[in-house]
Symmetry: C2
Subunit: 323 residues, 2 copies
């Protein structure tokens, strides 16, 4: 029986680090995860990862060949293989993550940030299959993006391209974790939806079940559930989120003219609540030559495995380029 | 003696259509221009062009070989070879310009819009030589842009990518020719600088030599001259133009992370008056990971020949791709 070629996809998150062995068509043959423990040095994480992947790999090694390792990590730099001052991890300034992993696995390694990995996963296995020009927007704790143009992910001069979450909605707007004001992320991330609810509760006098929830316990999911029960404040919050998202995505379309914009992550899970106002606002704000051309669609990657699939897609593409 | 390979670069403008025969290193061996006469059908322009280029070509044909024709035109579509409802030309909806030109010259033809052509000219012959990631911004009657990522011009799904001039500064801002409000073009084109002067003259009480000029006769050049003589309103107008340009270019950097942004055209000719505030504002608005990385530099293409060089660069690249 011929051996199945697989890659190892690793997603380093603030809390957990997930991994999986993935074949060429995007089937996760085996997967697991370990705690990231971001307070400890990266060398330790990589050593624990190697320890954790080894027994999982032994369950596959008689019928599979491992070709390479792809890694999605916050602030990862594709060109340098480094992770630079990642948020939520107390790692030193610059960590050469690719070199650490290569040192143990002795295989080709590629790293990029999580949103870029998601875009590649979408292109190889998901809603962007066959597309050459699209934008993946991840709407989670933050807002990330991966921009694909002419069939290639845009990395830019320094490997950090695709930070649409940090384009500016309002230069005197909400404080952002990046130190500036009014970034798209402050409005359309999951915490952004919560901030919009608080703003609406201050501004309006409508009754709302959200008035009973302490602000620190609000979540985008609770708000979506309230909206689906008809809560006017919750509905208005998603409406406003979509308005702002569509408005800024019109600028993104003017840059790269994508066939589709794919929304992924917690806020996108609200379905029509977020997709309808986003589509409406995007069309309203688009330059005439782009109108009625750009699809706004949900990701078709299952959230649980998406990051691992994306990391795997990254290294599959690198292996293909080398051929 | 070996024959010199050349291409024909054509730039179709609202008033004049310029053309030149250009060798591989960007030397214009011979050039000329004819009136565009945008009120007449495109077939007529192409016929007159053929008539005008023929004698110029005869002066070169004993020592040159013509390989192809590149065309820069407003609203030109690279994929389809068409020009669609061009501003300032009363052509019907969609004109298959590439087919018309091929029909007479019997050579490979490529078309794109003027800003994309300028970006290619810059990459082959100008300030972006050797760069793989940069953005060309043309600040003239309008604001155009060409975005190069990973060494390739971004055309997008439909061939219309790179409309940074129509990203939104202020959704309730100045009326734009595109039918919307607050486009970057309404602030940072040459007419945009004039509008800013009028705004400042209304707002402030400073003396200004510009108060003596009828608004309809104001030009970006007159304003630059006044600024260089120390006129406070004129200086403030360029300052504000750079502020707004830098602010929106920070969004562009977040998309494609360019090594440089290259400014071309009338407003860029104001030199330090526009470059200094643009650089300052860009740095101020950049996300931390992009700070102190992105050069803002002037085009090194001479304005007179730039459009013809750009059109020629377009077809040189196409010919190279085919090899």
């Amino acid at each position: 029986m011929a051996s199945v070629e697989v890659t190892l996809g690793i997603d380093i998150g603030g809390t957990n680090t997930a991994f999986g062995f993935v074949d060429r068509v995007g089937t996760i043959l085996a997967d697991s995860s370990i705690p990231t423990r971001g307070d400890r040095p990266p060398q330790e994480l990589v050593a624990r990862l190697y320890e954790a992947t080894t027994p999982v790999w032994h369950g596959l090694s008689d019928r599979c060949t491992l070709l390479g390792v792809g890694v999605g990590a916050p602030n990862a730099n594709y060109y340098r293989g480094t992770v630079e001052s990642p948020p939520n991890l107390s790692w030193p300034g610059v960590t050469n993550l690719a070199a650490l992993i290569e040192g143990l696995y002795h295989l080709p390694v590629a790293v990029t940030n999580d949103a870029n990995a998601a875009a590649l996963g979408e292109m190889l296995y998901g809603a962007a299959k066959g597309m050459k020009d699209f934008i993946e927007i991840t709407l989670g704790t933050g807002v990330g993006s991966g921009i694909v143009a002419g069939g290639d992910l845009i990395y830019g001069a320094d490997g950090f391209a695709g930070e649409i979450g940090h384009t500016i909605v309002d230069p005197v707007g909400r404080q952002c974790g990046c130190g500036r004001r009014g970034c798209l992320e402050t409005y359309t991330s999951a915490p952004g939806v919560c901030r919009t609810v608080l703003e609406l509760l201050a501004e309006r006098i409508d009754a709302s079940e959200l008035r009973a929830i302490p602000p620190g316990q609000l979540t985008a999911k609770l708000i979506a559930e309230a909206a689906n029960r008809g809560d006017v404040i919750a509905k208005a919050a998603y409406e406003k989120t979509g308005d702002i998202l569509g408005f800024k995505l019109a600028d993104s379309v003017a840059h790269t003219s994508p066939e589709a914009i794919i929304l992924f992550g917690g806020v996108a899970n609200a379905g029509a609540l977020i997709f309808e106002p986003t589509r409406r606002s995007l069309e309203h704000h688009l330059l005439n030559i782009f109108q009625n051309k750009v699809k706004v669609i949900p990701s078709s990657l299952k959230e649980a495995g998406a990051a691992v699939l994306g990391a795997s897609a990254l290294i599959w593409r690198e292996l293909q380029k080398k051929k």
